[in-house]
Amino acid sequence: MTAELSDLKTRLRPCFDDPVCDSQAAFRALMNAIAYPGRIELVNRLRDAPPPLHAATATLCLTLADFETPLWIDPHLASTDVLAWLQFHCRAPIVTSPKDARFVLADCRSQVPHLDELHPGEVEYPERSSTLILQVASLSGREGVRWTGPGINGTTTARISTLPRWFWAEWAMNSELYPLGADVIFASGEAIVGLPRSVRVEA
């Protein structure tokens, strides 16, 4: 038991240096990302994220997740270190189905849950939907798609790389559900881009 504890202690990576101000700074970047979809925002206050979580993904967990927010995590991301880190710092319950989760952590290198596997919210409470936090290789890739909607002055071009081939077709279906639907935050390294359900993708 003691050996296990000390083992955990040596492996457990720390939280923010200043939990109050660092999570506030991360939240403001995140709020900007959701309010101005398509803009790349930086969240760079966490020095030592547990791999394979990117710094941005780990920062969002520390900022948003707690015992009230069930979390679904991609089996490829769910290393012992990551699970111990999430349980210690966030205390979020881990669930086995993305539909039961407020936050869904996934990575493009493995199986990304389809958007219809996420919780779309309820007709009278559309805010109860899941938020997908999706790790991608880059937020400034070669291929771009044009977004329109609230928060965007005209149109903007988002260059999210390594997305599954079905993603934008399913996003169009997700938009049809509005005001229901899932919201997505793309994370790569220390950068994030928000994709709220109100955004429509131009063909």
Binding site: V20, Q24, A35, T63, P126, R197, S198
Partner: protein, 306 residues
Amino acid sequence: MKRASTRPAQGYNFAYLDEQTKRIIRRTLLKALSIPGHQVPFGGREMPLAYGWGTGGIQVTASIIGPEDTLKVIDQGADDTTNAVSIRRFFEIVTGVATTERAEEANIIQTRHRIPETPLQEGQIIVYQVPQPEPLRKIEPRETETRKMHSYAEYGAMQVALYEDIARFGYIAKTYDYPTLVNARHLMSPSPIPKFDNPKMESSPAIQLFGAGREKRIYAVPPYTSVRSLDFDDHPFEVQKWEQCCALCGSTTSYLDEVITDDNGGHMFVCSDTDFCNTRQREQAQAGEADDSAPPTALAATEIPS
């Protein structure tokens, strides 16, 4: 008047709220921004002032504010009225942030019932204090029903209420808290701002957040979002107009308050936005010093019956 940042008071968490509550409100704000105009319930807390004094707005501000921010607080456009002074002091004590009266210097503006005359910019966040977040409440008192009306965008009753005004008075008599349709989907109360300010919400570059403390609802309008004031083809939406100009700065484009000056019917019209009015007066004084022959235009242009 600008006040530099200081150390926050000891014994409280930064910005008064505990981190758990801030996380609840932050998650609520993100969902509110994702569904513009939709009211999201949240676990509102008791604040150290009474409901009706901006507890919703304070909780929103406390959840977003950081040490680097500059805060402006207004009450009916003024920086120096009771509500504005006490809320500004509250945040000076519990966060130590810099505060200002200049709209263009602030990146968070908490407001009761006005939008500043100075156009808002990207990078600014305006937080509205909301007494009644439900625009349909006077038409339908049951929450279960209004919730369904929002779910199915069933807003005919609101149009009928406006039409009844036209039938009775010949025009839409609502002058404040004028209902708006956000993102062509959700009916939203703009909080009791005068309808004069409604057009400023349309496609604003700033983030607009709304907090209702007693009703425990948060809603939001992201930047560059359509906010249309309801109207009819033959009775288009119009804002208030005045024959007078501001008695202090001479403005003909701002929202004016009528102020009683004595017991003999004396009155004057002045800008409701004190920062806007003071800035104009300063600029006029400087221009006047530069050119002594120029008459003091502002007072000359007004009639104050004695």
